[in-house]
């Protein structure tokens, strides 16, 4: 589903941020990505939704290969995966409903399908009653739920979350995390970068630790990565 094969990422200014990363994310998995700030977590996530492309090596996401990928293919790929960030990235001058609907509108979804899908996504994140609220009228936790609803509304196969609880208090963090677990339980894979080691420890999910651009620990089946190498 997601496969990294000897991936290197280098930026002109900050140099090498990922070195020889090989990993595999299977269908419906929940993976934590941990490591200190600047370790390369966000860069790794960007490679998944192809905001960045590897300098060397290959990334496959749902059959789309990073090498020679076209912008149009990237746009199509993003319709199949959801992305959420620490800073929510909502449109401040639109209601929660409009923010979620936006994700459907920009991919030319049929108008009749938009309203029911938006209602379902908002209900899924527990915000059925807040559809007409503006982001500034909502708490941080609620705003992140709207962002998650927007990410979910296209029924993605994977949810990529970059520090989704980084701006939230403990209670909101628990709520958002529980929501991500529920989403995962319904079959969507989740790849979540976090600093919250407490959350990681309690969950028991597969954890990949990155340091200085390299995978230094993978609690999951190590054979997977090896298997990928053999297959390649």
């Amino acid at each position: 589903m997601i496969r990294f094969q000897h991936v290197y990422k280098e930026y002109p200014r900050s140099g090498l941020v990922l070195q020889d990363v090989s990993l595999f994310v299977g269908k419906g998995e929940f993976i934590f990505l941990t490591g200190p700030s600047g370790a390369g977590k966000s860069s790794l996530l960007k490679l998944i939704y192809m905001e960045e492309l590897p300098t060397k090596g290959d990334v496959w996401v749902s059959g789309v290969r990073s090498k020679g990928v076209k912008r149009k293919e990237v746009a199509k790929l993003r319709r199949k995966l959801g992305v959420v960030f620490q800073d929510f990235r909502l449109l401040e001058d639109r209601t929660a409903e409009a923010n979620v609907a936006f994700a459907l509108e920009v991919i030319d979804a049929p108008r009749s399908a938009i309203q029911p899908k938006v209602a379902r996504a908002l209900a899924q994140v527990g915000l059925a009653a807040k559809g007409t609220s503006m982001p500034r009228e909502m708490s941080g936790g609620e705003q992140q739920r709207v962002a998650i609803a927007r990410a979910l509304v296209n029924d993605p196969f994977v949810l990529v979350a970059d520090e989704p609880t980084g701006n939230l208090d403990e209670r909101a963090t628990r709520g958002v995390f529980q929501l991500l677990r529920d989403i995962n339980a319904s079959g969507t894979a989740v790849v979540m970068a976090t600093h919250n080691l407490e959350l990681v420890r309690r969950s028991g999910y597969r954890t990949i630790e990155i340091n200085r651009g390299q995978v230094v620990f993978d609690s999951g089946d190590g054979d997977r990565a090896k298997k990928v190498e053999v297959l390649a």
């Binding site: 199509k76 993003r78 990235r89 449109l91």
Partner: protein
């Protein structure tokens, strides 16, 4: 398209000052260009009027029979370069000379002036070269004593016309380039103001073509509105000049529409380039 229109309107509503600033900037850039075009149009019109008066006058030998003259006039009138041929009898020549010379009208006497054929040229055939060729052909008629067409004067007129055309072209291009650069920068500001939206659109899978659409509409509308404002300002300026200084011709309807279309095109192309540049970076 409906969504693109809605997004355009949201952009206008969210930053009305920026939109007004964009339209005003576009308007004033086009206004400068419009003023220059107004001067160019008027110079051209004046030169055209002077040029339309260019004619070849063939003086006829005394005693040329009328039938010969009319046959020759038929031949000359059939030249593709010639628009009109007119016979001027000695009497009419005298009357014309008297009318043109006012207080010296008494110095002329009837027998003094020869009969002539006045030949007007079609537009596009009033250049020195063509005039020389036609004059040569007319001179070859046996009964033609002399041919005049103000050679020096025509040469000067054409030199002025060529200089005016070249200067107009260079200045016009410079003005247009400045307008495009200023308008491009203005539209870039509008794109930057919506950078967040663009990033979210890309995140949820919008294609580049889809992201471009509202900006193209935005550029088109701003171009048209700016163009209309510029046209109004130029018209106002031409009225002020006409009333206070010199009678000024305004653009024809076709030229005005072309100007508006030009404004809209600058808006669309400027937007397309600005968004394209932005999209390549993100």
């Amino acid at each position: 398209m409906r969504l693109a229109l809605r997004e355009t309107m949201i952009g206008f509503r969210r930053a009305p000052m920026l939109s007004v600033l964009s339209i005003t900037t576009i308007a004033f850039s086009l206004f400068a260009f419009g003023l220059f075009s107004l001067v160019a149009v008027n110079i051209r019109k004046t030169l055209g009027e002077v040029e339309s008066r260019v004619e070849i006058r063939a003086f006829l030998a005394d005693g040329t029979p009328v039938e010969v003259v009319s046959a020759a006039m038929g031949d000359i009138g059939a030249f593709p370069e010639v628009s009109r041929v007119e016979y001027v009898s000695p009497d009419s020549a005298l009357a014309r000379a008297r009318a043109e010379l006012g207080e010296f009208k008494d110095v002329f006497e009837s027998a003094f002036l020869p009969a002539s054929i006045d030949i007007r040229m079609r537009e596009g055939h009033r250049d020195p070269e063509t005039l020389k060729t036609i004059a040569g052909r007319i001179k070859s008629f046996e009964f033609v004593d002399d041919v005049r067409y103000g050679e020096d004067w025509v040469d000067k007129l054409y030199r002025i016309r060529n200089v005016a055309t070249a200067a107009g072209l260079v200045l016009g291009l410079a003005f247009a380039a400045v307008a495009v650069i200023i308008i491009g920068a203005t539209i870039r500001m509008a794109v930057m103001a919506r950078a967040r939206e663009i990033s979210i659109m890309r995140l949820v899978g919008a294609t580049d073509a889809f992201i471009r659409r509202p900006f193209l509409i935005d550029g088109f509308l701003k171009g048209i509105l700016g163009g209309l404002l510029a046209l109004g300002l130029t018209w106002f300026a031409s009225q002020v000049i006409s009333h206070n200084f010199i009678q000024t011709a305004f653009f024809s309807r076709g030229l005005a529409s072309l100007g508006l279309l030009g404004g809209a095109m600058i808006g669309v192309v400027g937007s397309s380039l600005s968004v394209g540049r932005h999209l390549r970076k993100v």
